[in-house]
């Protein structure tokens, strides 16, 4: 009898022990974060998501770079970004505008932060993942993060500086804004540190697939970004050095003369430094044809001011940048008027190509009182486009105007226009060049009514930046609204 009691007791206790062995239960049909970060491939896949989010933010970054300024015009109502961009163009900017939603960029930042935080620990777990490969991943992550912050700072001025990933809820959700310059300086530091380990190209993968040299951040992409940021921050000598290093890299060269159009079709040209990649065969298509080449329903067209900039001898003008008043650089196969086949609706979005490095250098040289060098660099770009050389001038304003016009011709519709205007205008805290740039902006303003509005609004330096999104302000009580929009 006592035995029976014991057996029963043992059975009950066994049952207890078995059912309570662990309280950490994981779902069987999902990849949990607790089981992630074990292999090199997992690290690379998160890095891939960083590029993915940069790519999925293309329409937003396009609108940030083009909605204001004088480069494009809006013809139809288009989609929500078009409608929001039109409000920006009309200087009717409210904190509820869709374009004030910065979530897309912070998605990029979160991916980069995740890689930066977790990749080093994976080296110990995966034998195929060595220190140098890991560091090259880190350099790409720093590039993604810096590029995202660069967009944010130029658009909002003060934004929360997040450097810890939100894979767990360890970090506070609410982060106050930091000053834009200090964020960019921190980013520059990161980039400088990672430059050493960055890849010049990606030899271990399929070289014929240009994503590996143009679609991911190489050392030259990182250097270009550093030059761009330095130019923004006013570190002109650094910018000049960095541009030189890219120009002399031996991996990238200017495409001359009539081949200029191969920058856009097929893309990933010799001149290209970093492009966000689409690939029809891999199911990565875009809506550029709808945005840029859709007859009367086209969302975005080159402004008449932009078109007026091209002379007949300019190889970048008709049949290259535009055709029939629409953006041909995103729609054509060649300069003979053949449109892309439907299997070619995978136009890349170019972030940096060598022509810009020359022009960044030129602008830095203008500001660093080297007008002759600047004229040289501008002429490199002019000459390859079939235009005659210009001579230098000691007036910075004159030179800047020449440079600006050259940039407008070269990069029409490449999301550079507003950032160029803003960069020059914001120098010396919106004093020296502000009115000059306002004159530039009103060169194409849509209507006289609009012109007056632009002049009066942009008089306030803060109005050059977008307001903080209303929902975001509600969710993050530590944020402060841009002073120019406080009363809205």
């Amino acid at each position: 009898m006592n035995k029976i009691v014991k057996y029963i007791l043992v059975t009950i206790l066994m049952g207890t022990a078995l059912s309570s062995c662990s309280l950490t239960l994981l779902p069987e049909d999902e990849q949990t974060s607790q089981k992630y970060w074990n292999t090199k491939e997992e690290v690379e896949a998160v890095l891939g998501s960083g590029y993915y989010y940069l790519r999925s933010s293309v329409e937003q970054t396009f609108m940030w770079g083009e909605a204001r300024g004088n480069g494009i015009s809006f013809l139809s109502s288009g989609d929500t970004y078009t409608a929001a961009g039109l409000k920006l163009r009309q200087m009717d900017i409210l904190p509820s505008n869709t374009l004030t939603d910065w979530g897309g960029m912070y998605k990029v930042i979160n991916m980069a932060n995740s890689v930066i935080k977790y990749a080093p620990s994976v080296v110990e777990k995966d034998a195929s993942f060595n220190e140098s490969v890991m560091k090259s991943y880190l350099s790409e992550a720093y590039f993604q993060r810096a590029l995202a912050y660069f967009y944010l700072v130029r658009t909002f001025k003060k934004v929360p500086y997040v450097t810890e990933p939100y894979v767990t809820d360890k970090n506070p959700y609410k982060i106050p804004q930091s000053d834009g310059d200090s964020i960019l300086n921190a980013c520059l530091n990161d980039l400088k540190g990672s430059l050493e380990s960055a890849k010049e190209y990606f030899p271990e993968t399929d070289v014929s697939n240009s994503i590996n040299s143009k679609g991911r951040a190489t050392r030259w992409a990182i250097t270009s970004l550093m030059a761009d940021i330095n130019l923004w921050l006013g570190n002109y000598n650094n910018a000049i050095n960095e541009c030189d290093s890219v120009i002399n890299s031996g991996r990238i060269g200017l495409i001359s003369g009539s081949s200029w159009f191969t920058n856009f079709f097929p893309g990933n040209s010799n001149e290209s430094i970093f492009e966000l990649q689409y690939n029809y065969d891999l199911g990565q298509t875009n809506s550029f044809m709808t945005w840029f080449y859709n007859g009367a329903s086209t969302y975005y067209e080159p402004s008449s001011y932009s078109i007026s900039l091209y002379s007949d001898e300019d190889i970048r003008g008709e049949n290259a940048t535009y055709y029939n008043g629409l953006f041909w650089k995103y729609a054509g196969r060649d300069q003979a008027g053949t449109t892309r086949l439907s299997t070619e609706y995978d136009q890349n979005f170019i972030v940096y190509r060598l022509a810009e490095i020359y022009l960044i250098k030129a602008e830095a040289e203008i500001m660093a009182d080297q007008p002759d060098n600047a004229a040289n660099d501008i002429n490199t770009i002019r000459n390859r486009a079939g235009l005659s050389s210009i001579s230098s001038s000691s007036s910075k304003s004159t030179m800047l105007n020449v440079l600006l016009t050259e940039r407008q011709r070269e990069f029409c519709g490449e999301a550079k226009n507003w950032f160029d205007l803003l960069r020059i205008a914001h120098r010396d805290n919106f004093t020296t060049y502000k009115s000059m740039i306002i004159e530039q902006i009103v060169l194409w303003s849509g209507s006289a009514n609009n012109e007056a509005l632009i002049r009066s609004k942009l008089n306030n330096g803060n109005a050059w930046y977008l307001p903080i999104n209303a929902t975001e302000l509600e969710r993050n009580t530590l944020l402060k609204q841009n002073e120019a929009y406080e009363n809205l």
């Binding site: 239960l25 590029y51 989010y53 399929d206 690939n279 990565q284």
Partner: protein
């Protein structure tokens, strides 16, 4: 016989390990008749009452039993069914002849059972308890019900139960209000000491598997229940841990008892009939309303303008409402159909139960069988339940006993077809379906054929199935199916071992297995869609299984030091493991209703499956100290861990303390005669609530929809929530129990305050600078429930012929949100595709703003004040808050605007709170909330000789309800049929009415306003029973010991001012955290008349 077989089997088991030595013989006879008792049992017991050896009397009336060696103090026990057990000390005598006494001659045994103290699992008697509990002994025979919730409704204070009329549907039970926003607010059910899994796992797709399936887990037949006890305060629920945070209902099933075998049989037959429905317009009234609607819209727009053309076209060219004999469906569109009548019927139900029970010295048993067949008044709704229960207790010795509970239930429920697409019930559709249309094709003689008339009509006035869920409700109730079969097996084993006189061990293992299978089919005769549509012959096949295993190890030390000091220490360790799995497939284009399998070549619309597992464990210590039998002190601490939280926040500690003083026993008071009992209780404690779902804290990585070039792209789709914590409710309770006139009048009063902190917030928006827009769970905010409850019973009069007794309970609960992150929650009360209430308010007809606002209770809704109807142009001129006319720049008066539209005479007039001439969201004010202020019930029993009259009332007061059903029937906005109230709509100046003019597809005449908010207070005569128990003398002659006939009427009368069909309205399941009560035209409670018979023999 059964008992004997079991005992013999058990004996055989025991015998196998014993060694026989000496043999004892003898005879066993009836004391009076001296006839041998063949089959009587003989046991050899040791001092611990442990049976060492057993035998039975043979056909000669003799027995032989071996006496084990080396044993002292043995007792020989003789037992036989229907006879008093006889014990004889064994002192080595070779022969013992026993004479046994018939038990029917003695009633002593029964009295011993009755005196048995009612104790909880820690051995604390009711008298000694410090906590707020209330117990109901179920006597189903007196008020027959088909479900547990029915039995409890109105019977317990602050146990607010709302039932639904369709057979087999889930009831909403809330004990002392709602303490959580996103956690489960359902109470815990504990059956025979083992918790039942009643929550719906979050992984289950609610769009396809509805929550009613899970309520079937609860389908214990009320006939099998002996008592139900409700535990309300923290001191009482503490030991049940977090699952008991919303209160606990302890259910005890019936067990056998010592004595002669008893059989009982009960049968019930019931008729149900719905009350009068909301009257709707007939054909001609409908057509003229539609013409009125269209004319008004055309006039507003101007006859010669192009926007009016659509309406002109509808008015003049639509064959559905025009008398056009050339129309091919002329016959079908010129009838007068009472759609409501076509989808309802008078229903019949039956319920049969049989049980047998008995027991002896060693074992008690009870076997019960039941079959319920319930039909609803909505055609196509039905519920069948078969249940079998076998409870057994076996005492091996004074030290060891075991009990086993087996229960098997098989239920089949037919419900009206619903899925994510259909947003109205067939009843709702029947209300709005055009009355001039026929449900069936009409033949040339003007007679109905048996073919459903569900044509595909281009530009159908009422739209298509895909666009506006327009379908044939008559075809739906007859042809569409929605059947859920659920089988449930429950097994509980309890082992009790007495180590020492004061030290006991209880080990419990509970197993609960449920399997549900749902099949739904929506044939094309209902929808009339084209064969290419994804709704064409739509079928859904779903299965779900729940496996639930619990264990409990409990040690109990109970020491009475002397007459004045008593200590109880209890330690308890429990585990729970719940595994859910489900599978759902939806297919369309099926060739016939019999083919629903997704592999049979049709189109698969969706497939999903899920599997999840949760574990919970808790350790618990309780102390109870009792001085002088008057002062009680309780303290406990519960440590609990749940697998739904990360390691950091997984463990929670929850203390409880309580004191009680039985002041009625103080010498100073014990001399007086009036008060017979007086006790004050005070308790405080904390309970925790874990987030629902299996893996809510786990972060997940997912692949992006496309990669980036050659690079694989994977991202963390959700954040791992390491900071997730328990939602904690601290509960304070003060109670007073009083008894007067030798406890003939009992009163019990409780005051309580429950304060919840770290409220679990679901899908909380977070700054997008994190890279996410929301997190699944977040702890923040505070909420409070305060209230009181009073219950009592009065045994007013009792003599040989008369009994009069009363019972009542009344309670009040007040909910208040104290603190919540600003703007966290606001919505418009409209339903979104994910089954939750929309997160933002949109200005529009029918939308109510709802918010969770600090200071206001949960379930508050906000909207416009409706002032009636604009009578003339003068009235439509806007006035500012000073009452002055507002003029425009030209100096002409500005006309009021409802939203973007100018008002005309006849339009609804809302209060312009800010006086800006426009009715918009800034004119929204608080309109009320869905919480009742008072709930309660009362009942009485009057018996005269053999006839009893039993009545139970149930009521709720003060809750506001959005009468959506009325809104849908009075909006006059489209081609839907409307209620007859719209006949009094505004037509010309001077019409004194609250109902605005009809306006087709335009205007804002039914904005969410107080016009559709109604007070749904009610008092219901829930049951009224007349029972006739036949006299013992008579039935004894027939070999019976009980025979009752009864007739019960349910829902006989409701006192209410509510304009809808039934004021008993549950909170809307889709309103999420807003907890709104919306009347969506669900089946009203029918009048039920039942006839029944109870037999005992």
């Amino acid at each position: 016989m059964r008992k004997k077989i079991i005992i013999l089997v058990l004996q055989a088991m025991i015998c196998s390990i014993a060694v026989a030595q000496t043999v004892l013989t003898g005879t066993v006879k009836d004391k009076t008749t001296l006839e041998p008792l063949i089959g009587a049992n003989i046991f050899v017991m040791n001092e611990n009452n442990r049976s060492l050896q057993g035998a039975a009397v043979d056909i000669n009336g003799e027995y032989h039993i071996a006496i084990p060696n080396n044993q002292n103090k043995l007792t020989i026990v003789f037992s036989f069914v229907g006879y008093k057990t006889l014990k004889v000390k064994y002192t080595g005598q070779p022969t013992i002849n026993a004479l046994m006494e018939d038990e029917s001659n003695s009633i002593q045994g029964v009295e011993v059972v009755a005196k048995h103290l009612d104790k909880d699992q820690f051995g604390i008697s009711r008298r000694e308890m410090v906590s707020a509990t209330q117990k109901v002994n179920l006597d189903v025979a007196t008020a027959p019900v088909t479900s547990l919730a029915d039995a409890l409704q109105g019977a317990m204070a602050n146990v607010d139960i709302l039932t639904q009329a369709d057979p087999g549907t889930k009831s909403q039970i809330r004990i002392r209000g709602i303490n959580t926003l996103n956690g489960s607010a359902d109470p815990l059910f504990v059956v025979d000491g083992v918790p039942l899994p009643v929550t719906v796992p979050s992984d289950v797709n609610l769009a396809t598997a509805n929550t009613d399936d899970y309520s079937q887990i609860l389908n214990i037949s009320p006939n099998d229940i002996e008592s139900i006890e409700v535990l309300k305060d923290a001191a009482a629920t503490a030991i049940w841990g977090s699952k008991g945070a919303n209160g606990v209902l302890l259910i005890k099933t019936k067990t056998g008892h010592k004595g002669k075998i008893q059989f009982s049989f009960s049968t019930k037959y019931e008729i149900r009939k719905e009350g009068n429905s909301i009257p709707v317009l007939n054909s001609s009234q409908y057509v003229s309303l539609l013409q009125d609607e269209l004319w008004n819209s055309i006039n507003d727009l101007g006859y010669n303008t192009s926007p009016a053309n659509t309406y002109i076209d509808l008015l003049s060219n639509n064959q559905q409402i025009n008398f056009d004999p050339t129309y091919k469906y002329f016959n079908e569109f010129n009838v007068d159909t009472d759609w409501q009548k076509e989808v309802t019927k008078t229903a019949h139900s039956s319920d049969n139960n049989f049980s047998l029970s008995g027991g002896g010295e060693k074992a008690d048993y009870l076997l019960s069988l039941g079959y319920l067949n319930e039909t609803g008044t909505a055609i196509g709704t039905k519920y069948n339940r078969f249940n079998l229960m076998y409870n057994m207790d076996y005492r091996f010795s004074n030290k060891l006993d075991v009990s086993a509970r087996f229960n098997f239930t098989s239920g089949s429920r037919d419900a009206s077809y619903t899925d994510g697409q259909l947003d109205t019930s067939p009843r709702g559709q029947a209300f709005i379906k055009m009355p001039n249309m026929s449900p069936y094709y009409i033949d040339s003689n003007g007679k109905r054929t048996n073919q459903y008339f569900t044509p595909y009509i281009e530009n159908d006035l009422q739209g298509t199935y895909a666009s506006t869920s327009n379908y044939n409700p008559v075809a739906l109730v007859h042809e569409a199916t929605n059947n859920t079969k659920s089988t449930n097996g429950r097994m509980i084993f309890v082992l009790h071992y007495k180590f020492l006189k004061n030290f006991d061990y209880y080990g419990t293992v509970g197993l609960n297995i449920t399997a549900n299978r749902m099949k739904k089919y929506l044939p094309n005769s209902v929808t009339g869609v084209e064969w290419t549509s994804k709704y064409f012959n739509l079928s859904t096949d779903a299965t779900s299984d729940v496996f639930y295993l619990t264990t409990e190890n409990r040690f109990l030390y109970n020491k009475q030091f002397n007459a004045n000091n008593k200590l109880i220490i209890a330690g308890r360790f429990t585990t729970e493991d719940e595994i859910n799995s489900s599978y759902t497939s939806t297919t369309s284009g099926n060739s016939s209703g019999s083919i629903t399998d997704p592999t049979s070549g049709n189109t698969i619309n969706s497939l999903s499956n899920g599997r999840s597992e949760t574990r919970n464990m808790s350790g618990n210590m309780q102390f109870h100290y009792d001085f002088f039998n008057r002062y009680m002190f309780d303290a406990g601490y519960n440590v609990e861990a749940n697998s739904s939280m990360a390691a950091k926040g997984r463990w929670g500690g929850f203390p409880t303390v309580g004191v009680a003083w039985i002041f009625g026993d103080e010498k100073a008071l014990s001399k007086q005669k009036i008060m017979s009992n007086g006790k004050i209780r005070l308790s405080w404690g904390e309970t925790g609530n874990a987030p629902s779902g299996a893996y809510p804290y786990i972060g997940v990585f997912k692949p992006q929809t496309t990669n980036y070039g050659d690079m694989k792209a994977v991202y963390p789709s959700s954040i791992e929530l390491d900071n997730l914590k328990w939602e904690i409710t601290s509960k304070t309770n003060i109670g007073l129990d009083m008894g007067f006139m030798k406890d003939r009048l009992l009163l019990s009063l409780d005051l309580y305050k429950n304060r919840t902190r770290n409220l679990l917030q679901k899908n909380v928006s977070i700054p997008s600078s994190t890279g996410y827009s929301s997190v699944a769970w977040y702890n923040s905010g505070k909420m409070e429930n305060t209230g009181w409850e009073l219950s009592g019973s009065y045994d007013a009069f009792r003599n040989k012929n008369w009994t009069v007794s009363l019972n009542f309970n009344i309670s009040q609960n007040k909910n208040k949100v104290i603190d919540i992150p600003s703007n966290l929650y606001s919505g418009d009360g409209s339903d979104t595709s994910d089954g939750n209430t929309s997160a933002s308010y949109t200005f529009g007809n029918g939308n109510y703003a709802c918010k969770v606002v600090p200071g206001d209770p949960l379930g508050s809704f906000y909207g416009y004040k409706c002032l009636g109807v604009y009578q003339n142009v003068q009235e439509t001129y806007a006035k500012d808050n000073g009452g002055n006319l507002i003029h425009d720049v030209d100096g002409s008066p500005v006309v009021m605007q409802n939203g973007t539209q100018k008002v005309y005479p006849g339009d609804a007039k809302y209060k312009d709170q800010n006086g800006d001439g426009v009715i918009d969201k800034y004119d929204i004010v608080y309109l009320g909330n869905s919480n009742p202020t008072v709930t309660g019930g009362f009942g009485f029993v009057v018996r005269y000789k053999q006839v009893s009259l039993i009545a139970n009332f149930f009521g709720r007061g003060g809750q506001k309800v959005i009468n959506s059903a009325r809104m849908n029937l009075e909006n006059m906005y489209g081609a839907n049929n409307q209620s007859r109230a719209t006949l009094t709509r505004w037509r010309r100046e001077g019409d004194n009415t609250m109902i605005p003019r009809a306006l087709y597809g335009r205007g804002y005449n039914y904005l969410g306003s107080d016009r559709f908010v109604e007070d749904a207070s009610f008092l219901k005569l829930k049951t009224l029973t007349v029972k006739w128990a036949l006299p013992m003398k008579l039935i004894n002659r027939w070999g019976l010991n009980r025979m009752d006939f009864y007739c019960t009427a349910y829902n006989l009368y409701t006192w209410t001012k509510y304009k809808g069909q039934d004021p008993e309205i549950s909170l809307s399941t889709t309103s999420g955290i807003f907890q709104l009560a919306k009347d969506g035209a669900t089946t009203p409670k029918p009048l039920q008349i039942a006839f029944g018979l109870n037999l005992g023999f």
